[in-house]
């Protein structure tokens, strides 16, 4: 189907179903129950899941295939956001031109930064990209936001004001980013005895784009170009000695992943018309590295899972406070209740970073291949063919179960 082999087509269909049904899947607990705290099916977070999914898919094309670890990808995300908000300010609230421009701007910057950074590899490449990203951050944070030439509006973040020109804006259109008149904020809420499910138009716009980008990434992975990128990862020197110039390939991969990041940035701005400089900070660049490694670098679906995992912790765990804990442990006797709250307290609320860090360590130590490897191991345990295998087949199954060194 669609030029994919059976295995990839299956993966693609799974991703398609998961994203389309996300409003149901992410709201498994009825509203008002004590577990409703863990529901993640509200528009903002669902949008973030797929947008950061796009970001991580793009990053994986560079890092997962070529092995070049860029520590400055957030810069492209930020540039994409600024480009999109400028379209909103000057032209129209329609998201199509905004997203197109954000991809183009990020692509151009990626071309320049990549051209320079890719002269080096390994740690030097990482440091160069980090330097460029921090430079962009500093420019956006203060240099380009002085009162005389205000391109980024500094710490406050670039936003749309009612007195901005918006030349193509008409009164009949929503005063909010929209897709040909369909506001990204319009949400249909389905209520079914206790459960509520939000179907948000902005989410489905992002989801459609992510599915498209996921498909594109499968095709890149399976193309001769993707094979060349893998060759660079396994032994670039050898590739060079065979007379191939590997630099155009790495540059192309860098620009493609920069454009993915720009697209994600444009979508972030389209869902919420504000572009803040913090989006470009090195912590944001580090976050996408974590997402990719946590999910499984070099795998197709891993980065999407990693992105969802991290965003879930950031948004759900950071909101659990002591009051919520007391509700959970209310069934225990008073002394026990306080004890439990004291034990759990450091891991929730402001401690969400700690919980995430611990989980990250567990994943990296026990599942070096990320969440995808975890899934594969579980899959192998239940694989019928393996359980019923005998003789040489059983030996193969045993080897499959033990991780490769």
């Amino acid at each position: 189907m669609l030029g994919l082999n059976k295995h990839d087509a299956m993966l693609f269909v799974i991703v398609l179903i998961l994203t389309l049904l996300a409003p149901f899947l992410l709201n498994p607990f009825p509203q008002g129950s004590s577990l409703a705290q863990f529901n993640a099916g509200y528009p903002d977070l669902m949008q973030r899941f797929v947008i950061y999914g796009i970001f991580a898919i793009g990053f994986n094309i560079l890092f997962g295939l070529t092995g070049y670890l860029s520590f400055g990808h957030a810069a492209f995300l930020g540039m994409g956001s600024y480009a999109a908000v400028w379209i909103f300010k000057l032209l129209t609230y329609n998201v199509v031109p905004a997203i197109l421009l954000s991809v183009i701007v990020a692509g151009l910057f990626a071309l320049v930064i990549g051209y320079i950074s890719l002269r080096r590899s390994g740690i030097y490449f990482s440091i160069l990209t980090l330097a460029f990203a921090q430079m962009s951050f500093a420019l956006a944070y203060s240099v380009l936001s002085n009162p005389k030439f205000n391109l980024t509006n500094g710490e406050t973040g670039l936003q749309v004001y009612s007195n901005d020109p918006q030349w193509l804006h008409r009164a009949s259109l929503p005063d909010m980013p929209h897709l040909f008149g369909l506001s990204v904020r319009s949400t249909y809420t389905l209520r079914m005895n206790g459960w509520t499910f939000d179907f948000n138009s902005g989410y489905y716009i992002c989801a459609a784009i992510m599915i498209l980008m996921f498909y594109l990434s499968i095709r890149i992975f399976r193309s001769p170009f993707g094979m060349m990128l893998r060759a660079i990862k396994s032994n670039q020197q050898r590739l060079n000695y065979t007379g191939l110039n590997s630099r155009p390939y790495t540059l192309a991969a860098f620009v493609i992943s920069g454009m993915y990041a720009g697209l994600a940035g444009g979508l972030l701005a389209a869902m919420d018309p504000l572009a803040g400089a913090e989006r470009m900070q090195w912590t944001a660049s580090g976050e996408v590295v974590l997402m990719t490694i946590l999910g499984g670098a070099g795998t197709l679906i891993g980065p999407v899972l990693g992105a969802g995992f991290i965003k879930y912790f950031e948004n759900i765990f950071s909101k659990i406070n002591d009051n919520v804990l007391h509700q959970w442990f209310a069934f225990l006797p008073d002394g026990m209740e306080d004890l439990m709250v004291t034990i759990v307290h450091p891991f929730i609320g402001k401690g969400w970073n700690l919980t995430l860090g611990l989980l990250f360590m567990i994943v990296v130590i026990f599942l070096p291949g990320g969440l995808v490897e975890g899934g594969q191991r579980v899959g192998r345990v239940f694989r019928r063919r393996d359980r019923k295998a005998s003789g040489a087949e059983a030996e193969a199954a045993r080897q499959r179960r033990t991780p490769a060194e």
Binding site: L2, G3, R48, G154, E155, G157, S201, Y204, E278, N321
Partner: protein, 450 residues
């Protein structure tokens, strides 16, 4: 070499999937038929407290959260009632808001505009918060205020000192109780004139972002009006921790006053280093060298320790203030947490009560009705003395405190002393003042959302 296996069936299938994908968004255009966003329908009403729990202002955020929790208790009739007894408006009776029990959800702003907006959105979309309060940075306040305007709920700003919050970025759904950079400058100038005279040369070190610039602009304007000369303004990166390279040139510039337009960790470091360089022991132009910190906070003073001794600055509120409202608040805060409240705690406490009171007076949670009830509202008894919520820009006008670092503090909470309470008339300005966006700045239309 990509595979090209186009079959009739394949094309049809792909078309159907793509068509369904495109049709999905258009099905869900119907909005819900509520009158305003998150109208509380049950027996509870949810407030959203969005404070920095991680990052450089986490201490301030924690103190804000303490005050907000206290305010919720008082609204629900628990504890000693705090300022409900001293508040000039008697619409609140300790039975929640309009008979609904007050509950709250919290979020972490991380002192980043993006994260703050995400946290606020989640409280609005997931938890059904009807009002957002808190924050410890102007960038965050402006960003969240914009979000609340779009979403159609009320934003009661926490600690935000930049002129822009109620200046060029003012919004119909947003309200600020805290004072601003202009007021700091207007209150400090006369005190500085009395202490240091009219013939001074000032050297500014300014944090290089929006708040720093408005602060520097305001202080330079007020001090120049009384005869001071601004020798130089040097912008320092916000992330800087070592200011020695910025402080060394000050001595050779011929300046005799150093103005530190810094806040938080910046201010703790720059002040400490300036004092360690011995600036305050120097004689320049036949006068003692002096340091001024326009915006003080208890937590910064605690960070800088003995270095604040003798340094002037301004504050929105201090727990030593001697009026009925202040005493009631300090007592109830102290009994619950065993420490005096900071000025960011006080502004959040006051904002929560002011919001609840406005709802009670309006008889509705509708943000437009609440905004109307707050506009032009005059009140007393929340700690700052008589206060007006100005209708034109949603800025509170009240007395401003000029503070000075104590020479011999008795304990860790006693580092600052009140030098002067500048009357409100002296810090007033017209709503279309050029530092506040001029005539162009408007509140826009009230947005009830949904």
């Amino acid at each position: 070499m990509s595979k090209n296996d186009l079959t009739r069936r394949g094309v049809l299938k792909t078309g159907a999937v793509a068509g369904a994908g495109l049709a999905v968004p258009t099905i869900f255009t119907a909005g819900s038929a509520r009158a305003f966003t998150n109208e509380p329908t049950g027996s509870n009403v949810v407030l959203g407290f969005n404070v920095p729990q991680t990052g450089p202002y986490a201490d301030e955020g924690m103190d804000e959260l303490r005050a907000q929790e206290l305010a919720v208790q008082h609204l629900n009739g628990e504890g000693d009632g705090g300022c409900l007894a001293t508040f000039s408006s008697k619409a609140l009776d300790g039975t929640g808001i309009l008979g609904k029990k007050v509950t709250f959800v919290t979020g972490d702003t991380q002192t980043k505009s993006d994260a703050a907006r995400a946290a606020a959105k989640s409280m609005i979309e997931k938890d059904g918060a009807i009002m957002i309060n808190g924050g410890s940075s102007s960038g965050v306040a402006v960003a969240v205020q914009g979000l609340c305007q779009e979403a159609g709920i009320i934003f009661m700003a926490g600690l935000t000192h930049s002129n822009d919050t109620t200046g060029k970025d003012r919004k119909k759904n947003g309200f600020r109780h805290f004072f601003n950079a202009y007021m700091s400058a207007a209150a400090l100038a006369p005190v500085l004139e009395k202490a240091y005279g009219t013939d001074r040369r000032a050297y500014h070190l300014t944090a290089d972002y929006t708040w720093g610039w408005t602060q520097q602009e305001s202080i330079a304007a007020s001090t120049e009006a009384m005869g001071w000369e601004t020798v130089e303004n040097v912008l320092t990166p916000l992330a800087a921790t070592d200011f020695s390279s910025y402080i060394a040139p000050v001595l050779n510039s011929g300046a005799d006053v150093l103005v530190l337009n810094h806040y938080g960790g910046n201010m703790v470091n720059s002040l400490t280093q300036a004092v360690q360089f011995g600036l305050r022991d120097k004689q320049v132009n036949g006068k003692n060298f002096e340091i001024v910190v326009p915006l003080y906070s208890e937590l910064m003073a605690a960070g800088a320790g003995a270095n604040v001794a003798g340094v002037y600055g301004s504050m929105n509120y201090n727990w030593q203030l001697d009026n009925e409202g202040s005493k009631a608040f300090v007592k109830s805060f102290g009994e619950k947490y065993g420490r005096p409240p900071s000025n960011s705690a006080q502004t959040c406490y006051a904002q929560v009560l002011l919001y609840a009171d406005a709802v009670a007076r309006a008889g509705s949670f509708d943000p437009c009705a609440v905004a109307e009830a707050l506009e032009g509202f005059q009140f007393d008894g929340l700690g700052n003395g008589p206060t007006l919520y100005r209708a034109e820009d949603h800025q509170c006008f009240k007395d401003v405190l000029v503070m000075k670092g104590k020479e011999a503090p008795a304990n860790e909470f006693d580092l600052l002393e009140i030098v002067d309470v500048t009357p409100v008339a002296q810090v007033e300005y017209p709503a279309d003042h050029p530092m506040f966006g001029g005539a162009e700045a408007t509140l826009g239309e009230c947005n009830p959302g949904a």
